[in-house]
Amino acid sequence: MSTATDTRRKKAPAGERVADWADSRLGVYSLAKANLRKIFPDHWSFMIGEICLYSFIIIILTGVYLTMFFNPSMGEIVYHGDYVPMQGIRMSEAYASTLDISFEVRGGLLIRQIHHWAALIFIGAMFVHMMRVFFTGAYRKPREMNWVFGFLLLVLGLFTGLTGYSLPDDLLSGTGVRFTQGAILSAPVIGTYLSMFLFGGEFPGHDFVGRFYSIHILLLPGIMLGLVVAHLIMVFLHKHTHWPGPGKTNTNVVGTPFLPVYMGKAGGFFFLVFGVIAAIAAVATINPVWAIGPYRPDQVSTGAQPDWYLGFAEGLIRVMPGWEINAWGHTLVLGVFIPLLIFPLLLVSIAAYPFVESWATGDKRHHHLLVRPRNAPVRTGFGVAWCVSYLTMLVAGGNDIWATHFHLSINAITWFSRVAFFVAPVLAFIVTKRICLGLQRRDKDKVLHGRESGIIKRLPHGEFIEVHEPLSSDELHTLTAHDQYKPLELEPEVDENGVVRKPSRSEKLRVKLSKGLYGEDTQIPKPTPEEYKEITSGHGHH
């Protein structure tokens, strides 16, 4: 018997021996100690970020496969491949190799379609993930930098998408590249130089597919991979935010351990996402370049649209009036250049928001509890207004599609979009804020008076009353756990010692912002324990 235990002691299980080996060289035990049983909170909205991560991995896997067959060359050939309708047609080798991937490589079409669908889902999921983070206040200290990392991933994702779908050199994407070039030309002073340098001369030249290729497969995804890793490390370091609730505080995190529960759920979810995208790619054609034909700068098809995520840039350029200023032998192409500026400004505004908010509140504390959107009406209103302006421009970017499908006047749609760009976000802000305040009132009502039970009671003297059930202590806590800020006030210009001190301009702005965020009409005071006790102690109140 003793010999058996001795050998066991001498020979640890194979897994442990591998772990020991790795620990001496890589320090895996210290790493695992902090992370193996790390607690992750559970909520459906935390899953959206996972979709981003998994679709990014899928894009990389399928993208590597595609590079084996794709030929990023603009050299012209006459097609003699398997796809009969295109035989004898002049096209670039990039386009021809895309046809080969689609018609001659078994499974090539599937991988191409998985790649494209995953890209669309990746960017869509990033938008929704950012909305989740924004509307729940998860970007607040200490997570501002992770918000910026995520924002950069979104912006880089947009450009990786643009450079990616331009590679097949088909008529649709070529038209998009032409649009990009026309927009670059509008830049004052340097526009023509940028265009010549990007395209290696005049448009389209013979260089852009090769150049976009190295940007698309190496430069941008390389940066993105780094950012994704940094993003995930930060999530681990900060520990995930969680919703207020019984047992959950700003100083703890409540959930299940990474190994095994979270690993099972999140790891399984990767396969779920991959499986669904593969099935979509099996049944839904995406970017059928064979039906569009190779690019020629003097040809175009109607209904030309970018991939959806750049639709708002398309909309901006479509609704902008064609302003041009000609003076001193130069042209300022405002009609194109202004949309070209609004595009980054719209994006940067969401990146900057956490910093503006924390400056206005002066709040330098750590926040790990999420805030329900209704409890931050101005923030929620601002976010919805942003989404509405994005959607307005997305709609405007498809004004021709709306016109043809709904038999509307294209001119009317364009004018509608021009007005809506300014009016719709304001309306959205006002409506959202009111809805939030209404929901806050209802929460307050529920806390103080309890839930409507639906039971009608008739009192002896004939009065009918509805019985309200008091909330459980769990619910009472959850509904009152949110912070309510007081707006800043300007200090009196003359203090008690009679010293005059003029507030600086930035101070005034800060107070103004703070009042806008937390001043009058921006929140319903949450019920106090005193109010609650007063109401619940007397039995006559409901």
């Binding site: 509008s186 351990p257 396969f271 593969a278 003097d298 175009v300 294209i410």
Partner: protein, 355 residues
Amino acid sequence: MSSQDNSKDNSEENLPQQPEGADSGALSKRDDPFANPGLPPHEHRVQDIDEQAAKRSERAVAGLFTLSMLSTIGFIVSYVSFDIDKIVYIFPIGRVSALNFSLGMTLGLALFCIGAGAIHWARTLMTDVEVAEERHDLDASPEVREEVLAGFQEGARESDIGRRKLVRNTLIGAVAMVPLTGLVLLRDLGPLPGTKLRHTKWAKGKMLINENTLEPLRPEDISVGSLTFAMPEGLSEEDHDFHNEIAKAALMIVRLQPENIKDKRELDWSHEGIVAFSKICTHVGCPISLYEQQTHHVLCPCHQSTFDLTDGGRVIFGPAGHSLPQLRITVNDKGYLEAMGDFAEPVGPAYWERG
């Protein structure tokens, strides 16, 4: 910036109190009806108390994993058995590639079942007891902070960077300048613009070649109500720079009634009511291809800029900023349409040097 003294002024009093921890004492709990009641007791799932149910979950998970294996085999079978050009009808999608459909579906199922199995396993058989873990702010302790700052200062002092200003300043200069080499290297990405965007292949005496038939156009080839596309004589699809040239030279030709032409110069530059305009939109350069026969308006399908061909190619709607350039044409002695020169102004989108 006065943000520093600001943060002093309203350091904490404006901020709401942070919710207290769950374990903040029984006293306050009794006192405050809204206090955090602490983690609720764990509720058992059916799998936790009924081994039969747990066994059922186990079988479901194993079944999903088995289905995944079968799907992978199905994938391989599909790969070798379907021809790449086989088309099948699948309700309700329609006619699809058999290979793409079967590969995608089997791959999708193989992956999905792994995922569904793992998640079902995690949800029903692994623990669902929620536990609390303390958070620790990333901020270092004051001692660590002091140590790091002291270390940094010591390092800086040992390097002498503060004292030897000459070293510091020349280092800054060198590091600031060296990226210039990279910038200089970008110069050969392309040629300088020069006047390239001002000129096209059109020149005096060049015949207008029909883009479809590749034959020279005669006035009688242009009928009322049709839009004809042309390119300059001497340009061929096989040319190395064909795309660059056609991107500027593409032409559209329509026949109008001379009395309908409102613009005097347009009438002068036309031939018996035949007018030739650049096909490249002056907005961002899409080829204009939609023609409204009744009004003689042309519409760019990309961004819906609309131009009036009876009025000097004037913009009447949309985001384009200036009129379409017109090509002055005439008929040569053989009866073919020909250009009387290049466009008088640059074609396509506007740019800084356009003027």
